[in-house]
Protein backbone atom coordinates (compact mmCIF):
# COMPACT_ATOMS: atom_id res chain seq x y z
CA UNK A 1 0.00 0.00 0.00
CA UNK A 2 2.84 2.33 0.93
CA UNK A 3 4.16 2.18 -2.61
CA UNK A 4 0.79 3.06 -4.04
CA UNK A 5 0.50 6.10 -1.81
CA UNK A 6 4.00 7.24 -2.66
CA UNK A 7 3.29 6.89 -6.30
CA UNK A 8 0.12 8.93 -6.06
CA UNK A 9 1.80 11.71 -4.16
CA UNK A 10 4.83 11.80 -6.36
CA UNK A 11 2.80 12.00 -9.53
CA UNK A 12 -0.02 14.22 -8.49
CA UNK A 13 1.42 17.50 -9.83
CA UNK A 14 2.29 15.96 -13.18
CA UNK A 15 -1.05 14.26 -13.46
CA UNK A 16 -3.15 17.29 -12.66
CA UNK A 17 -1.11 19.33 -15.09
CA UNK A 18 -1.84 16.78 -17.78
CA UNK A 19 -5.52 16.74 -16.88
CA UNK A 20 -5.95 20.48 -16.93
CA UNK A 21 -4.11 20.67 -20.23
CA UNK A 22 -6.49 18.10 -21.57
CA UNK A 23 -9.51 19.95 -20.28
CA UNK A 24 -8.37 23.17 -21.87
CA UNK A 25 -7.93 21.28 -25.10
CA UNK A 26 -11.31 19.64 -24.84
CA UNK A 27 -12.93 22.98 -24.14
CA UNK A 28 -11.40 24.27 -27.33
CA UNK A 29 -12.66 21.32 -29.31
CA UNK A 30 -16.16 21.52 -27.92
CA UNK A 31 -16.29 25.25 -28.44
CA UNK A 32 -15.53 24.71 -32.08
CA UNK A 33 -17.69 21.71 -32.66
CA UNK A 34 -20.81 22.33 -30.59
CA UNK A 35 -21.08 26.04 -30.09
CA UNK A 36 -24.77 25.57 -29.33
CA UNK A 37 -24.22 23.45 -26.21
CA UNK A 38 -21.81 25.32 -24.01
CA UNK A 39 -22.56 23.08 -21.05
CA UNK A 40 -21.04 20.04 -22.68
CA UNK A 41 -17.59 20.45 -21.20
CA UNK A 42 -19.01 21.12 -17.80
CA UNK A 43 -21.08 17.97 -18.01
CA UNK A 44 -18.07 16.06 -19.19
CA UNK A 45 -16.07 17.06 -16.16
CA UNK A 46 -18.72 16.08 -13.67
CA UNK A 47 -19.76 12.93 -15.47
CA UNK A 48 -16.23 11.59 -15.79
CA UNK A 49 -14.34 10.51 -18.88
CA UNK A 50 -16.39 7.36 -19.27
CA UNK A 51 -19.76 6.75 -17.73
CA UNK A 52 -22.15 3.85 -17.67
CA UNK A 53 -25.63 4.19 -16.24
CA UNK A 54 -27.90 1.37 -15.23
CA UNK A 55 -26.37 -1.04 -17.74
CA UNK A 56 -28.13 -4.30 -18.34
CA UNK A 57 -27.12 -7.13 -20.62
CA UNK A 58 -28.06 -10.75 -20.81
CA UNK A 59 -26.98 -13.54 -23.11
CA UNK A 60 -29.92 -15.90 -23.28
CA UNK A 61 -30.70 -16.85 -19.70
CA UNK A 62 -27.40 -15.62 -18.35
CA UNK A 63 -27.47 -12.14 -16.87
CA UNK A 64 -24.07 -10.66 -17.63
CA UNK A 65 -24.71 -7.19 -16.25
CA UNK A 66 -27.45 -6.14 -13.89
CA UNK A 67 -27.92 -2.39 -13.26
CA UNK A 68 -24.27 -1.43 -13.36
CA UNK A 69 -23.21 2.18 -12.84
CA UNK A 70 -19.67 3.29 -13.43
CA UNK A 71 -17.73 6.53 -13.67
CA UNK A 72 -14.14 6.71 -14.78
CA UNK A 73 -12.47 9.94 -13.68
CA UNK A 74 -9.72 11.69 -15.63
CA UNK A 75 -6.22 10.54 -14.75
CA UNK A 76 -7.17 7.67 -12.49
CA UNK A 77 -6.55 3.97 -12.70
CA UNK A 78 -9.83 2.28 -11.96
CA UNK A 79 -9.68 -1.45 -11.37
CA UNK A 80 -12.68 -3.61 -12.09
CA UNK A 81 -12.17 -6.58 -9.82
CA UNK A 82 -14.18 -9.75 -10.04
CA UNK A 83 -14.02 -13.50 -10.54
CA UNK A 84 -14.28 -15.07 -14.00
CA UNK A 85 -17.72 -14.59 -15.46
CA UNK A 86 -18.49 -11.57 -13.31
CA UNK A 87 -19.25 -9.43 -16.36
CA UNK A 88 -16.00 -7.46 -16.54
CA UNK A 89 -15.30 -8.12 -20.20
CA UNK A 90 -18.92 -7.44 -21.15
CA UNK A 91 -18.72 -4.06 -19.46
CA UNK A 92 -15.45 -3.21 -21.23
CA UNK A 93 -16.91 -4.25 -24.59
CA UNK A 94 -19.81 -1.86 -24.09
CA UNK A 95 -17.56 1.03 -23.13
CA UNK A 96 -15.55 0.31 -26.29
CA UNK A 97 -18.67 0.28 -28.43
CA UNK A 98 -18.20 -3.25 -29.76
CA UNK A 99 -21.31 -4.50 -27.95
CA UNK A 100 -24.62 -2.87 -27.11
CA UNK A 101 -26.37 -2.97 -23.76
CA UNK A 102 -29.94 -4.25 -23.51
CA UNK A 103 -30.79 -1.23 -21.38
CA UNK A 104 -28.99 1.73 -19.87
CA UNK A 105 -26.57 4.16 -21.43
CA UNK A 106 -22.85 4.44 -22.04
CA UNK A 107 -20.95 7.62 -22.65
CA UNK A 108 -17.25 7.94 -23.39
CA UNK A 109 -15.74 11.40 -23.88
CA UNK A 110 -19.28 12.68 -24.05
CA UNK A 111 -20.40 10.44 -26.90
CA UNK A 112 -21.98 7.06 -27.45
CA UNK A 113 -18.98 4.79 -28.16
CA UNK A 114 -21.17 2.70 -30.45
CA UNK A 115 -21.18 5.57 -32.95
CA UNK A 116 -17.43 5.20 -33.23
CA UNK A 117 -16.56 8.90 -33.23
CA UNK A 118 -14.10 8.91 -30.37
CA UNK A 119 -12.30 5.60 -30.88
CA UNK A 120 -9.18 7.60 -31.76
CA UNK A 121 -8.92 8.58 -28.10
CA UNK A 122 -9.24 5.01 -26.85
CA UNK A 123 -6.80 2.15 -26.65
CA UNK A 124 -7.79 -1.39 -25.82
CA UNK A 125 -5.95 -4.49 -24.73
CA UNK A 126 -8.46 -7.30 -25.07
CA UNK A 127 -8.28 -11.02 -24.54
CA UNK A 128 -7.65 -12.59 -27.93
CA UNK A 129 -7.59 -16.26 -28.85
CA UNK A 130 -5.32 -15.82 -31.82
CA UNK A 131 -3.52 -12.91 -33.43
CA UNK A 132 -2.29 -13.11 -37.04
CA UNK A 133 0.93 -14.99 -36.45
CA UNK A 134 2.90 -14.28 -39.58
CA UNK A 135 3.11 -10.53 -39.07
CA UNK A 136 6.09 -9.18 -37.15
CA UNK A 137 5.78 -7.19 -33.94
CA UNK A 138 6.72 -3.89 -35.58
CA UNK A 139 4.32 -4.56 -38.46
CA UNK A 140 1.40 -5.00 -36.10
CA UNK A 141 2.33 -1.76 -34.34
CA UNK A 142 2.89 0.08 -37.62
CA UNK A 143 -0.60 -0.89 -38.80
CA UNK A 144 -2.42 0.02 -35.58
CA UNK A 145 -0.48 3.29 -35.28
CA UNK A 146 -1.74 4.28 -38.72
CA UNK A 147 -5.35 4.23 -37.45
CA UNK A 148 -4.69 7.08 -35.01
CA UNK A 149 -4.29 10.78 -35.81
CA UNK A 150 -1.29 11.37 -33.53
CA UNK A 151 0.36 8.05 -32.65
CA UNK A 152 3.47 7.57 -30.56
CA UNK A 153 6.69 7.16 -32.54
CA UNK A 154 7.32 3.44 -33.08
CA UNK A 155 10.53 3.54 -31.02
CA UNK A 156 8.63 4.94 -28.05
CA UNK A 157 5.90 2.30 -28.22
CA UNK A 158 8.54 -0.41 -28.45
CA UNK A 159 10.35 1.02 -25.46
CA UNK A 160 7.29 1.45 -23.20
CA UNK A 161 5.94 -2.00 -24.01
CA UNK A 162 9.36 -3.64 -23.74
CA UNK A 163 9.33 -4.88 -27.33
CA UNK A 164 12.51 -3.32 -28.75
CA UNK A 165 14.43 -6.62 -28.71
CA UNK A 166 11.73 -8.62 -30.44
CA UNK A 167 10.39 -6.09 -32.91
CA UNK A 168 11.40 -8.17 -35.94
CA UNK A 169 10.02 -11.47 -34.68
CA UNK A 170 6.75 -12.86 -36.07
CA UNK A 171 3.97 -12.85 -33.48
CA UNK A 172 3.58 -16.61 -33.70
CA UNK A 173 7.10 -17.21 -32.40
CA UNK A 174 6.70 -15.21 -29.19
CA UNK A 175 6.28 -16.48 -25.64
CA UNK A 176 3.07 -15.87 -23.70
CA UNK A 177 4.45 -12.86 -21.87
CA UNK A 178 5.81 -11.34 -25.07
CA UNK A 179 2.46 -11.82 -26.80
CA UNK A 180 0.71 -9.97 -23.98
CA UNK A 181 3.23 -7.16 -24.38
CA UNK A 182 2.46 -6.89 -28.09
CA UNK A 183 -1.25 -6.55 -27.29
CA UNK A 184 -0.29 -3.92 -24.74
CA UNK A 185 1.78 -2.16 -27.41
CA UNK A 186 -1.22 -2.24 -29.77
CA UNK A 187 -3.32 -0.59 -27.05
CA UNK A 188 -0.88 2.25 -26.39
CA UNK A 189 0.61 2.91 -29.85
CA UNK A 190 -2.06 5.47 -30.81
CA UNK A 191 -1.26 7.55 -27.74
CA UNK A 192 -4.89 7.38 -26.54
CA UNK A 193 -6.18 9.27 -23.50
CA UNK A 194 -8.21 6.40 -22.11
CA UNK A 195 -6.98 2.82 -22.01
CA UNK A 196 -8.93 -0.35 -21.40
CA UNK A 197 -6.80 -3.24 -20.18
CA UNK A 198 -8.84 -6.42 -19.97
CA UNK A 199 -7.04 -8.94 -17.76
CA UNK A 200 -3.61 -7.81 -18.94
CA UNK A 201 -1.68 -10.27 -16.79
CA UNK A 202 -3.83 -13.36 -17.04
CA UNK A 203 -1.70 -16.44 -17.55
CA UNK A 204 1.60 -14.63 -16.95
CA UNK A 205 4.29 -15.80 -14.57
CA UNK A 206 5.34 -13.62 -11.65
CA UNK A 207 8.20 -11.92 -13.45
CA UNK A 208 6.17 -11.08 -16.56
CA UNK A 209 3.36 -9.80 -14.34
CA UNK A 210 5.73 -7.42 -12.50
CA UNK A 211 7.00 -6.16 -15.83
CA UNK A 212 3.45 -5.51 -17.04
CA UNK A 213 2.68 -3.66 -13.80
CA UNK A 214 5.70 -1.41 -14.33
CA UNK A 215 4.51 -0.68 -17.87
CA UNK A 216 1.02 0.19 -16.65
CA UNK A 217 2.54 2.54 -14.06
CA UNK A 218 4.44 4.26 -16.88
CA UNK A 219 1.12 5.02 -18.53
CA UNK A 220 -0.32 6.52 -15.37
CA UNK A 221 2.78 8.67 -14.96
CA UNK A 222 2.06 10.03 -18.44
CA UNK A 223 -1.36 11.21 -17.33
CA UNK A 224 -3.38 8.48 -19.02
CA UNK A 225 -6.67 7.25 -17.63
CA UNK A 226 -6.83 3.48 -17.31
CA UNK A 227 -9.65 1.05 -16.74
CA UNK A 228 -8.16 -2.28 -15.76
CA UNK A 229 -10.01 -5.52 -15.21
CA UNK A 230 -8.50 -8.26 -13.12
CA UNK A 231 -9.41 -11.15 -10.91
CA UNK A 232 -6.37 -10.65 -8.71
CA UNK A 233 -6.95 -8.47 -5.65
CA UNK A 234 -3.22 -7.93 -5.25
CA UNK A 235 -3.03 -6.60 -8.81
CA UNK A 236 -5.83 -4.12 -8.20
CA UNK A 237 -4.16 -3.19 -4.91
CA UNK A 238 -0.78 -2.61 -6.52
CA UNK A 239 -2.05 -0.44 -9.37
CA UNK A 240 -5.43 1.13 -8.73
CA UNK A 241 -6.54 4.45 -7.33
CA UNK A 242 -10.03 3.06 -6.99
CA UNK A 243 -11.52 -0.43 -7.13
CA UNK A 244 -14.96 -1.60 -8.17
CA UNK A 245 -15.79 -5.15 -7.19
CA UNK A 246 -18.04 -6.83 -9.73
CA UNK A 247 -19.71 -10.14 -9.06
CA UNK A 248 -22.40 -11.87 -11.09
CA UNK A 249 -23.10 -8.71 -13.05
CA UNK A 250 -23.48 -6.44 -10.03
CA UNK A 251 -21.13 -3.98 -8.38
CA UNK A 252 -20.89 -5.16 -4.80
CA UNK A 253 -18.19 -2.87 -3.44
CA UNK A 254 -16.45 0.35 -4.41
CA UNK A 255 -13.59 2.22 -2.78
CA UNK A 256 -9.89 2.83 -2.55
CA UNK A 257 -7.69 -0.25 -2.33
CA UNK A 258 -7.34 0.17 1.44
CA UNK A 259 -11.09 0.51 1.89
CA UNK A 260 -11.74 -2.57 -0.19
CA UNK A 261 -9.07 -4.50 1.66
CA UNK A 262 -10.45 -3.53 5.05
CA UNK A 263 -13.82 -4.74 3.85
CA UNK A 264 -12.42 -7.86 2.36
CA UNK A 265 -9.55 -8.52 4.77
CA UNK A 266 -11.36 -10.44 7.44
CA UNK A 267 -9.89 -12.52 10.22
CA UNK A 268 -10.11 -16.19 10.76
CA UNK A 269 -10.75 -17.54 14.26
CA UNK A 270 -10.03 -21.14 15.07
CA UNK A 271 -11.05 -22.76 18.37
CA UNK A 272 -12.48 -25.85 20.01
CA UNK A 273 -15.70 -25.25 21.86
CA UNK A 274 -18.66 -26.97 23.50
CA UNK A 275 -21.02 -24.65 21.64
CA UNK A 276 -22.96 -26.11 18.74
CA UNK A 277 -22.42 -24.92 15.19
CA UNK A 278 -25.76 -23.07 15.32
CA UNK A 279 -24.82 -21.29 18.55
CA UNK A 280 -21.53 -20.11 17.06
CA UNK A 281 -23.26 -19.00 13.90
CA UNK A 282 -25.61 -16.78 15.90
CA UNK A 283 -22.83 -14.68 17.41
CA UNK A 284 -22.98 -11.20 15.86
CA UNK A 285 -20.12 -10.54 13.43
CA UNK A 286 -19.66 -14.15 12.37
CA UNK A 287 -19.72 -14.37 8.59
CA UNK A 288 -19.40 -18.13 8.29
CA UNK A 289 -18.49 -21.16 10.32
CA UNK A 290 -17.20 -24.50 9.30
CA UNK A 291 -16.23 -27.52 11.31
CA UNK A 292 -12.67 -28.67 10.84
CA UNK A 293 -12.08 -31.96 12.70
CA UNK A 294 -12.94 -31.12 16.32
CA UNK A 295 -12.47 -27.37 15.86
CA UNK A 296 -14.51 -24.55 14.39
CA UNK A 297 -13.20 -22.13 11.80
CA UNK A 298 -14.95 -18.79 11.81
CA UNK A 299 -14.67 -16.06 9.19
CA UNK A 300 -15.21 -12.64 10.72
CA UNK A 301 -14.60 -9.01 9.84
CA UNK A 302 -13.21 -7.96 13.23
CA UNK A 303 -11.89 -10.58 15.61
CA UNK A 304 -12.11 -8.85 19.01
CA UNK A 305 -15.89 -8.60 19.55
CA UNK A 306 -16.40 -12.16 18.39
CA UNK A 307 -13.65 -13.55 20.62
CA UNK A 308 -15.07 -11.66 23.59
CA UNK A 309 -18.48 -13.13 22.94
CA UNK A 310 -17.10 -16.63 22.41
CA UNK A 311 -15.22 -16.60 25.70
CA UNK A 312 -18.28 -15.31 27.51
CA UNK A 313 -20.60 -17.97 26.11
CA UNK A 314 -18.20 -20.88 26.50
CA UNK A 315 -15.87 -20.87 29.53
CA UNK A 316 -14.28 -24.06 28.24
CA UNK A 317 -13.26 -22.57 24.92
CA UNK A 318 -9.74 -23.69 23.99
CA UNK A 319 -7.05 -23.72 21.29
CA UNK A 320 -7.91 -20.18 20.29
CA UNK A 321 -6.09 -18.89 17.19
CA UNK A 322 -6.70 -15.66 15.29
CA UNK A 323 -5.14 -15.23 11.85
CA UNK A 324 -5.45 -12.84 8.95
CA UNK A 325 -7.40 -14.22 6.07
CA UNK A 326 -5.22 -14.15 2.96
CA UNK A 327 -5.84 -11.50 0.34
CA UNK A 328 -7.28 -13.84 -2.24
CA UNK A 329 -9.31 -15.84 0.30
CA UNK A 330 -10.70 -12.61 1.63
CA UNK A 331 -11.72 -11.53 -1.83
CA UNK A 332 -13.30 -14.90 -2.33
CA UNK A 333 -15.15 -14.45 0.96
CA UNK A 334 -16.37 -11.05 -0.16
CA UNK A 335 -17.86 -12.41 -3.36
CA UNK A 336 -19.15 -15.57 -1.71
CA UNK A 337 -20.92 -13.64 1.03
CA UNK A 338 -22.58 -11.67 -1.68
CA UNK A 339 -23.61 -14.85 -3.44
CA UNK A 340 -25.09 -16.25 -0.23
CA UNK A 341 -27.01 -13.03 0.37
CA UNK A 342 -28.39 -12.93 -3.13
CA UNK A 343 -29.56 -16.53 -2.77
CA UNK A 344 -31.47 -15.68 0.42
CA UNK A 345 -33.08 -12.77 -1.35
Amino acid sequence: MATVLERNQAQEPKMSAAISARQVESQKVSAVMVATTPSATQLHRTAGIATARNLKKSYGNIIALNSVDLHVRAGELLALLGPNGAGKTTLVRMLLGVARPDAGSVSVFGADPYDGHMQARLGAMLQVGRVPETLKVREHLDLFSSYYPAPLPLAETLQIAGLADIKDRPYGELSGGQKQRVLFGIAICGNPDLLFLDEPTVGLDVEARRLMWAQIRTLISRGKTVLLTTHYLNEADALADRILVLNKGRIIAEGTPSEIKSRAMGKQIRCTSRLTMEEVQQIPGVLSVKADRNAFELQVNAAEPVVRELLQRDPWLADLEVTNAGLEEAFLALTQNHNAESKEN
Binding site: R53, L96, L122, D142, L143, P170, F196
Partner: protein, 272 residues
Protein backbone atom coordinates in the same frame (compact mmCIF):
# COMPACT_ATOMS: atom_id res chain seq x y z
CA UNK B 1 -30.42 2.09 -26.17
CA UNK B 2 -31.08 5.31 -24.34
CA UNK B 3 -29.70 8.47 -25.84
CA UNK B 4 -26.41 9.81 -24.58
CA UNK B 5 -26.58 12.79 -22.30
CA UNK B 6 -25.08 15.24 -24.75
CA UNK B 7 -23.87 15.40 -28.33
CA UNK B 8 -20.49 14.23 -29.49
CA UNK B 9 -18.78 17.23 -27.97
CA UNK B 10 -15.32 15.75 -27.90
CA UNK B 11 -15.37 13.73 -31.05
CA UNK B 12 -12.12 13.65 -32.95
CA UNK B 13 -12.32 15.66 -36.19
CA UNK B 14 -12.93 13.59 -39.29
CA UNK B 15 -9.79 12.16 -40.80
CA UNK B 16 -8.56 13.58 -44.07
CA UNK B 17 -8.83 11.73 -47.35
CA UNK B 18 -5.07 11.35 -47.44
CA UNK B 19 -5.00 9.63 -44.07
CA UNK B 20 -7.88 7.38 -45.05
CA UNK B 21 -6.04 6.30 -48.18
CA UNK B 22 -2.91 5.67 -46.12
CA UNK B 23 -4.89 3.41 -43.77
CA UNK B 24 -6.47 1.45 -46.62
CA UNK B 25 -3.06 1.04 -48.27
CA UNK B 26 -1.38 -0.19 -45.10
CA UNK B 27 -4.22 -2.53 -44.25
CA UNK B 28 -4.03 -4.01 -47.76
CA UNK B 29 -0.26 -4.33 -47.64
CA UNK B 30 -0.25 -6.20 -44.35
CA UNK B 31 -3.18 -8.43 -45.30
CA UNK B 32 -1.26 -9.49 -48.39
CA UNK B 33 1.99 -9.97 -46.43
CA UNK B 34 0.16 -11.99 -43.81
CA UNK B 35 -1.29 -14.33 -46.44
CA UNK B 36 1.94 -14.61 -48.43
CA UNK B 37 3.67 -15.83 -45.28
CA UNK B 38 1.09 -18.55 -44.56
CA UNK B 39 2.51 -21.44 -46.62
CA UNK B 40 -0.71 -23.46 -46.57
CA UNK B 41 -2.56 -20.57 -48.11
CA UNK B 42 0.06 -19.07 -50.39
CA UNK B 43 1.36 -22.34 -51.82
CA UNK B 44 -1.80 -24.41 -52.01
CA UNK B 45 -3.98 -21.65 -53.42
CA UNK B 46 -1.57 -21.19 -56.31
CA UNK B 47 -0.32 -24.74 -56.78
CA UNK B 48 -3.68 -26.59 -56.80
CA UNK B 49 -5.20 -24.83 -59.79
CA UNK B 50 -1.82 -24.96 -61.52
CA UNK B 51 -1.47 -28.68 -60.89
CA UNK B 52 -5.01 -29.42 -62.10
CA UNK B 53 -4.49 -27.23 -65.12
CA UNK B 54 -1.31 -29.03 -66.09
CA UNK B 55 -3.04 -32.37 -65.57
CA UNK B 56 -6.39 -31.75 -67.30
CA UNK B 57 -5.46 -29.02 -69.71
CA UNK B 58 -1.95 -29.87 -70.85
CA UNK B 59 -0.91 -33.46 -70.11
CA UNK B 60 -4.01 -35.67 -70.38
CA UNK B 61 -5.98 -36.40 -73.53
CA UNK B 62 -4.92 -36.86 -77.10
CA UNK B 63 -6.00 -35.46 -80.40
CA UNK B 64 -4.33 -33.27 -82.94
CA UNK B 65 -2.47 -30.09 -81.94
CA UNK B 66 -5.52 -27.91 -82.66
CA UNK B 67 -7.75 -30.04 -80.40
CA UNK B 68 -5.11 -30.03 -77.69
CA UNK B 69 -4.76 -26.25 -77.88
CA UNK B 70 -8.52 -25.84 -77.67
CA UNK B 71 -8.67 -28.07 -74.60
CA UNK B 72 -5.82 -26.11 -73.00
CA UNK B 73 -7.68 -22.86 -73.66
CA UNK B 74 -11.00 -24.24 -72.38
CA UNK B 75 -9.36 -25.53 -69.19
CA UNK B 76 -7.58 -22.21 -68.73
CA UNK B 77 -10.97 -20.56 -68.28
CA UNK B 78 -12.47 -23.26 -66.04
CA UNK B 79 -9.42 -23.92 -63.84
CA UNK B 80 -8.84 -20.17 -63.61
CA UNK B 81 -12.37 -19.89 -62.26
CA UNK B 82 -11.59 -22.69 -59.82
CA UNK B 83 -8.44 -20.94 -58.59
CA UNK B 84 -10.17 -17.60 -58.16
CA UNK B 85 -12.90 -19.26 -56.11
CA UNK B 86 -10.38 -20.88 -53.79
CA UNK B 87 -8.41 -17.74 -52.97
CA UNK B 88 -11.60 -15.77 -52.45
CA UNK B 89 -13.36 -18.33 -50.27
CA UNK B 90 -10.31 -19.20 -48.18
CA UNK B 91 -8.72 -15.75 -48.07
CA UNK B 92 -11.98 -14.06 -47.21
CA UNK B 93 -14.21 -16.67 -45.58
CA UNK B 94 -11.81 -18.79 -43.59
CA UNK B 95 -9.63 -15.93 -42.42
CA UNK B 96 -12.69 -13.89 -41.39
CA UNK B 97 -14.14 -16.86 -39.50
CA UNK B 98 -10.86 -17.28 -37.64
CA UNK B 99 -10.27 -13.61 -36.88
CA UNK B 100 -13.87 -13.05 -35.88
CA UNK B 101 -14.23 -16.18 -33.80
CA UNK B 102 -10.97 -15.76 -31.94
CA UNK B 103 -11.35 -12.13 -30.98
CA UNK B 104 -8.92 -10.44 -33.36
CA UNK B 105 -11.67 -8.65 -35.31
CA UNK B 106 -12.91 -7.27 -32.00
CA UNK B 107 -9.49 -5.76 -31.26
CA UNK B 108 -9.60 -4.14 -34.69
CA UNK B 109 -13.14 -2.87 -34.19
CA UNK B 110 -12.19 -1.37 -30.83
CA UNK B 111 -9.53 0.65 -32.64
CA UNK B 112 -10.31 3.63 -34.91
CA UNK B 113 -9.81 1.45 -38.00
CA UNK B 114 -12.59 1.97 -40.56
CA UNK B 115 -14.27 -1.45 -40.79
CA UNK B 116 -14.43 -1.09 -44.57
CA UNK B 117 -10.61 -0.98 -44.70
CA UNK B 118 -10.52 -4.43 -43.15
CA UNK B 119 -12.79 -5.90 -45.82
CA UNK B 120 -11.23 -3.94 -48.66
CA UNK B 121 -7.83 -5.38 -47.69
CA UNK B 122 -9.16 -8.93 -47.88
CA UNK B 123 -10.69 -8.22 -51.28
CA UNK B 124 -7.41 -6.70 -52.45
CA UNK B 125 -5.48 -9.76 -51.33
CA UNK B 126 -7.90 -12.06 -53.18
CA UNK B 127 -7.57 -9.94 -56.32
CA UNK B 128 -3.76 -10.08 -56.19
CA UNK B 129 -3.72 -13.84 -55.69
CA UNK B 130 -6.30 -14.29 -58.47
CA UNK B 131 -4.17 -12.25 -60.87
CA UNK B 132 -1.05 -14.24 -60.01
CA UNK B 133 -2.88 -17.53 -60.58
CA UNK B 134 -4.24 -16.40 -63.94
CA UNK B 135 -0.84 -15.16 -65.13
CA UNK B 136 0.75 -18.47 -64.12
CA UNK B 137 -1.90 -20.57 -65.84
CA UNK B 138 -1.68 -18.44 -68.96
CA UNK B 139 2.10 -18.77 -69.05
CA UNK B 140 1.99 -22.54 -68.63
CA UNK B 141 -0.79 -22.84 -71.20
CA UNK B 142 1.08 -20.74 -73.73
CA UNK B 143 4.42 -22.49 -73.22
CA UNK B 144 3.26 -26.10 -72.95
CA UNK B 145 -0.38 -26.33 -73.99
CA UNK B 146 -0.29 -24.57 -77.32
CA UNK B 147 -2.61 -21.81 -76.09
CA UNK B 148 -2.48 -18.90 -78.46
CA UNK B 149 -4.60 -15.81 -78.03
CA UNK B 150 -4.28 -12.10 -78.70
CA UNK B 151 -3.13 -10.02 -75.75
CA UNK B 152 -6.49 -8.22 -75.68
CA UNK B 153 -8.30 -11.56 -75.33
CA UNK B 154 -5.95 -12.68 -72.58
CA UNK B 155 -6.47 -9.40 -70.77
CA UNK B 156 -10.24 -9.78 -71.07
CA UNK B 157 -10.09 -13.34 -69.71
CA UNK B 158 -7.95 -12.29 -66.74
CA UNK B 159 -10.11 -9.22 -66.12
CA UNK B 160 -13.33 -11.26 -66.08
CA UNK B 161 -11.96 -13.92 -63.74
CA UNK B 162 -10.31 -11.45 -61.37
CA UNK B 163 -13.51 -9.40 -61.20
CA UNK B 164 -15.21 -12.74 -60.63
CA UNK B 165 -13.52 -12.97 -57.26
CA UNK B 166 -16.03 -10.38 -55.97
CA UNK B 167 -19.06 -12.72 -55.78
CA UNK B 168 -16.93 -15.36 -54.09
CA UNK B 169 -15.51 -12.86 -51.61
CA UNK B 170 -19.13 -11.99 -50.79
CA UNK B 171 -19.80 -15.67 -50.31
CA UNK B 172 -16.69 -15.91 -48.12
CA UNK B 173 -17.99 -12.99 -46.09
CA UNK B 174 -21.28 -14.79 -45.51
CA UNK B 175 -19.50 -18.03 -44.55
CA UNK B 176 -17.06 -16.11 -42.35
CA UNK B 177 -19.91 -14.71 -40.28
CA UNK B 178 -21.51 -18.06 -39.66
CA UNK B 179 -18.77 -20.71 -39.58
CA UNK B 180 -16.74 -21.37 -36.46
CA UNK B 181 -12.97 -20.87 -36.72
CA UNK B 182 -12.13 -24.57 -36.61
CA UNK B 183 -14.80 -25.77 -38.97
CA UNK B 184 -14.54 -22.96 -41.53
CA UNK B 185 -11.98 -24.70 -43.83
CA UNK B 186 -14.14 -27.84 -43.90
CA UNK B 187 -17.28 -25.82 -44.60
CA UNK B 188 -15.59 -24.02 -47.48
CA UNK B 189 -14.30 -27.28 -48.96
CA UNK B 190 -17.70 -28.91 -48.62
CA UNK B 191 -19.31 -26.09 -50.53
CA UNK B 192 -16.83 -25.21 -53.20
CA UNK B 193 -15.57 -28.60 -54.36
CA UNK B 194 -19.05 -30.02 -55.20
CA UNK B 195 -20.07 -26.61 -56.54
CA UNK B 196 -17.06 -26.55 -58.89
CA UNK B 197 -17.84 -30.02 -60.17
CA UNK B 198 -21.54 -29.34 -60.71
CA UNK B 199 -20.73 -26.12 -62.53
CA UNK B 200 -18.68 -27.99 -65.09
CA UNK B 201 -15.24 -26.78 -64.03
CA UNK B 202 -13.80 -30.29 -63.95
CA UNK B 203 -15.67 -31.98 -66.73
CA UNK B 204 -17.34 -29.81 -69.39
CA UNK B 205 -21.01 -29.44 -68.63
CA UNK B 206 -22.21 -31.02 -71.90
CA UNK B 207 -20.64 -34.31 -70.78
CA UNK B 208 -22.56 -34.28 -67.50
CA UNK B 209 -26.08 -35.72 -66.90
CA UNK B 210 -29.01 -33.49 -67.78
CA UNK B 211 -30.01 -33.01 -64.13
CA UNK B 212 -26.63 -31.48 -63.32
CA UNK B 213 -26.81 -29.26 -66.39
CA UNK B 214 -30.05 -27.79 -65.03
CA UNK B 215 -28.62 -27.48 -61.54
CA UNK B 216 -25.57 -25.66 -62.87
CA UNK B 217 -27.75 -22.70 -63.90
CA UNK B 218 -28.19 -21.96 -60.19
CA UNK B 219 -24.49 -22.11 -59.35
CA UNK B 220 -22.28 -19.01 -59.57
CA UNK B 221 -19.13 -20.80 -60.84
CA UNK B 222 -21.12 -21.91 -63.89
CA UNK B 223 -21.96 -18.31 -64.74
CA UNK B 224 -18.44 -17.05 -64.14
CA UNK B 225 -16.88 -19.86 -66.19
CA UNK B 226 -19.33 -19.22 -69.03
CA UNK B 227 -18.32 -15.56 -69.06
CA UNK B 228 -14.66 -16.61 -69.15
CA UNK B 229 -15.31 -19.16 -71.92
CA UNK B 230 -17.20 -16.59 -73.95
CA UNK B 231 -14.19 -14.32 -73.69
CA UNK B 232 -12.00 -16.94 -75.38
CA UNK B 233 -14.70 -17.89 -77.87
CA UNK B 234 -15.54 -21.30 -76.36
CA UNK B 235 -18.80 -20.53 -74.59
CA UNK B 236 -21.07 -23.51 -75.06
CA UNK B 237 -24.50 -22.06 -74.51
CA UNK B 238 -26.28 -19.31 -76.30
CA UNK B 239 -27.22 -17.37 -73.13
CA UNK B 240 -26.26 -13.72 -73.57
CA UNK B 241 -23.45 -12.48 -71.33
CA UNK B 242 -25.59 -10.06 -69.36
CA UNK B 243 -27.68 -12.92 -67.99
CA UNK B 244 -24.55 -14.42 -66.45
CA UNK B 245 -23.58 -11.04 -65.05
CA UNK B 246 -27.06 -10.64 -63.60
CA UNK B 247 -26.91 -14.06 -62.00
CA UNK B 248 -23.55 -13.27 -60.41
CA UNK B 249 -24.82 -9.88 -59.23
CA UNK B 250 -27.90 -11.45 -57.65
CA UNK B 251 -25.73 -14.07 -55.98
CA UNK B 252 -23.41 -11.35 -54.63
CA UNK B 253 -26.33 -9.40 -53.19
CA UNK B 254 -27.79 -12.50 -51.53
CA UNK B 255 -24.43 -13.28 -49.95
CA UNK B 256 -24.03 -9.70 -48.73
CA UNK B 257 -27.52 -9.89 -47.22
CA UNK B 258 -26.67 -13.11 -45.42
CA UNK B 259 -23.40 -11.56 -44.22
CA UNK B 260 -25.22 -8.47 -42.92
CA UNK B 261 -27.57 -10.75 -41.02
CA UNK B 262 -24.58 -12.63 -39.57
CA UNK B 263 -22.89 -9.37 -38.65
CA UNK B 264 -25.91 -8.24 -36.67
CA UNK B 265 -26.34 -11.64 -35.07
CA UNK B 266 -22.68 -11.54 -34.09
CA UNK B 267 -23.05 -8.34 -32.12
CA UNK B 268 -25.39 -9.95 -29.64
CA UNK B 269 -22.92 -12.71 -28.93
CA UNK B 270 -20.01 -12.96 -26.62
CA UNK B 271 -16.58 -14.08 -27.66
CA UNK B 272 -13.73 -14.77 -25.31
Amino acid sequence: MAATTFPTALAVPRRSLQRSIAIYAKEAKYELLKNLRIPVYAISSVSFPLMFYVLFGVVLGGGNPAERAERATYTLATMGCFGVMAVSLFGFGVSLAIERGQGWLQVKRASPMPVSAYFAAKLFSAVVFSTVIMLLLLTVGTLFGGVHMPIATAARLIGILVAGSIPFCAMGLAIGYFAKPNSAPAVVNLIYLPMSFCSGLWIPLFLLPHGLQVLAKFLPPFHLSQLALNAVGLGENPTPAWEHVEALLAFTLICLGVAAWGYRRDEGKTYG
